[in-house]
């Protein structure tokens, strides 16, 4: 009892077994609290049913040249555009080194006439206009985001405005000549 009443005694530099025990148990406590916290944090991440999302199949046959459709995949709009020869050549003619997010048109398509992208502005997540014939298409003939004025070209690459990246290309594959499977 005499020892516990005066824990610092017996050590001249103040370092005692008691200090060590205090630090060690505090450290274990902090780690334990962190571990206990993780299930709460992780419960907010996408649940199994959200992750188990079906892929989306799209029949391209009815889409005429120059026409664009929007389909939904993982709760996001997917832009599918049947590009005209002019649009393709405009997209291919761009000097890649001049781009904010340099990508050749060939890197962004599997077949030049079919452009498939996630239709979400890479700035703050709005849906750019340019799918319907009457929509504003921006200065580069592609898409225009009405929220903060980002302009995308006919390859969906960012050309002007605050967005940092090109419109993303989702994983997809041609199942036949005229149909694709997204995801």
């Amino acid at each position: 009892m005499a020892d516990t009443a005066n824990p610092a005694s017996g050590s001249s530099d103040g370092e005692t077994r008691r200090d060590f025990l205090l630090y060690a148990s505090s450290a274990v406590g902090v780690v334990g609290a962190g571990l206990a916290l993780w299930p709460f944090v992780h419960s907010m991440n996408p649940a199994a049913d959200v992750l188990a999302l079906a892929s989306t199949e799209v029949d391209l046959a009815p889409i005429a040249e120059g026409q664009a459709i929007t389909v939904m995949w993982r709760g996001k709009p997917i832009f599918v555009r049947h590009r005209t020869a002019d649009e393709i050549s405009a997209a291919q003619a761009v000097d890649v080194t001049s781009l904010r997010d340099p990508q050749t048109d060939a890197d962004r398509v599997k077949k030049p006439e079919w452009l498939v992208m996630i239709g979400i502005c890479t700035h703050l997540g709005c849906i750019p206009l340019g799918q319907a014939p009457a929509d504003p298409k921006g200065e580069f003939g592609g898409w225009f985001c009405p929220c903060h004025g980002s302009n995308y070209d006919t390859s969906g690459r960012i050309r002007k405005g605050p967005a940092p990246l090109n419109l993303a290309v989702p994983p997809y594959a041609f199942t036949t000549d005229t149909s694709i499977k997204i995801g």
Partner: protein, 407 residues
């Protein structure tokens, strides 16, 4: 400790839990500067507004369904079928705007009269924490009706976090609970919106605690020196606060009854559609100055950092202001810059509501520069250079002298 009453029950309780003593000490006897003007009404008004918001919110929650397929309809049901549901909702929706009006006036009062300076720095910090919590709560609440502005506001604001390198995308997915704003997002925003006001209430208690420890500032910005400088809170300021509450309620209820959608966006009466972004997204008015700062930077991360920085910088204001004098009453130069800072905030707010193009964008950029120039450069420099007017000896002395001359 003297018991606040001779009542035996009160005494019995007070001996075991001195709650009556505490209440007498902090709500009745609390010595208050005797020269407070009407700008000092807004703190208690904001407190009242918090109570109204919690009460109306509680009863709205009894009829609201946080599910994407039912949220919009449940709000319409509140409006049409629930007894007095329209009143509860309009009180709550307009109440949010009123709460921000009151708090903005309260903050500017603090800026003008130097209430953030020593020894009130912690009091100022707690106020800023309340303000940040209010912004978060307001945003979460605006999502709940699940209209077009709800949905796209949620999308744009949560996407702010995607600007951070590496972890950004993970944070956004975590906030959403999926790959877009969807049911998991709405589902979690509801309990968060419900619980944050109680966190605000907790911080308000600490804010008032800090206030009662350092005592109220006053229009002269000098300390209370003798008992002659103060009057008890009750009945002098209880009655003045009640009078202010009467005036404020007339203002508030005029909107509730005659212009209930004045602060709202018509687009939010269109159910949320993840496939169509409205042509012009505007946040609620109380975020507009910061939204203008966000949009004035042509870089995504830069804009986000500057926007958050605009608020966080206020935490160091007590040290940026180098002047020893608190009240702008005695600061002939800084006074006008403080008023200009307010005007600048209004212009930023106006710009925030306009499309970010051409002249508007340029004006927004100039105002953004001015916002930071004022706080980071002008405030310290003017504090050094300015020659303040002579301060009165005490809170009482100008009044006593004047009345002496009159006789």
């Amino acid at each position: 400790m003297s018991a606040p009453s001779n009542n035996k029950v009160v005494k019995w309780v007070d001996d075991r839990l001195p709650i009556f003593t505490m209440m007498k000490h902090s709500a009745i006897d609390y010595p208050t500067p005797k020269n407070l003007n009407y700008w000092w009404n807004f703190g208690s008004l904001a407190g009242l507004m918090l109570v109204i918001m919690i009460l109306t919110g509680l009863f709205l929650a009894m009829n609201y369904v946080p599910h994407t397929s039912m949220a919009f309809d449940s709000v319409e049901r509140i409006m049409r079928d629930v007894n007095y549901g329209w009143l509860l909702r309009y009180l709550h929706a307009n109440g949010a705007s009123m709460f921000f009006i009151l708090v903005y006036i309260h903050i500017f009062r603090g800026l003008y009269y130097g209430s953030y300076k020593a020894p009130r720095e912690v009091l100022w910090w707690l106020g800023l924490v309340i303000y940040l919590l209010m912004m978060a709560t307001g945003f979460l609440g605006y999502v709940l009706p699940w209209g077009q502005m709800s949905f796209w506001g949620a999308t744009v604001i949560t996407n702010l976090f995607s600007a951070f390198p590496l972890v950004g995308e993970h944070i956004v997915t975590w906030l959403w609970g999926g790959f877009s704003v969807d049911n998991p997002t709405l589902n979690r925003f509801f309990p968060l919106h419900f619980v944050l006001p109680f966190v605000i209430l907790g911080v308000v208690v600490v804010h008032v605690w800090a206030l009662h420890s350092v005592k109220s500032n006053n229009p002269l910005g000098i300390d209370m020196k003798t008992p002659q400088d103060s009057i008890p809170f009750h009945p002098y300021y209880t009655i003045k606060d009640l009078f202010g509450i009467g005036l404020f309620l007339m203002f508030y209820l005029a909107f509730v009854f005659w212009a209930p959608n004045f602060f709202g966006e018509p687009d939010n009466y269109i159910p949320a559609n993840p496939m169509v972004t409205p042509p012009h997204i505007v946040p609620e008015w109380y975020y507009l100055p910061f939204y203008a700062i966000l949009r004035s930077v042509p870089d995504k991360l830069g804009g986000v950092l500057l926007m958050f920085g605009a608020i966080l910088i206020l935490f160091v204001l007590p040290w940026l202001d180098t002047s020893k004098v608190r009240s702008c009453k005695f600061r002939p130069i800084y006074k006008w810059f403080t008023i200009l800072f307010l005007v600048n905030a209004f212009v930023l707010g106006y710009i925030g509501a306009q499309p970010a193009e051409g002249t508007m964008l340029l004006v927004g950029q100039i105002c953004t520069v001015w916002y930071f120039l004022h706080l980071l450069v002008l405030t310290p420099v003017i504090g050094w250079l300015e020659k303040p007017k002579p301060l009165p000896e005490s809170i009482s002395s100008p009044v006593v002298k004047k009345s002496g001359e009159a006789v």
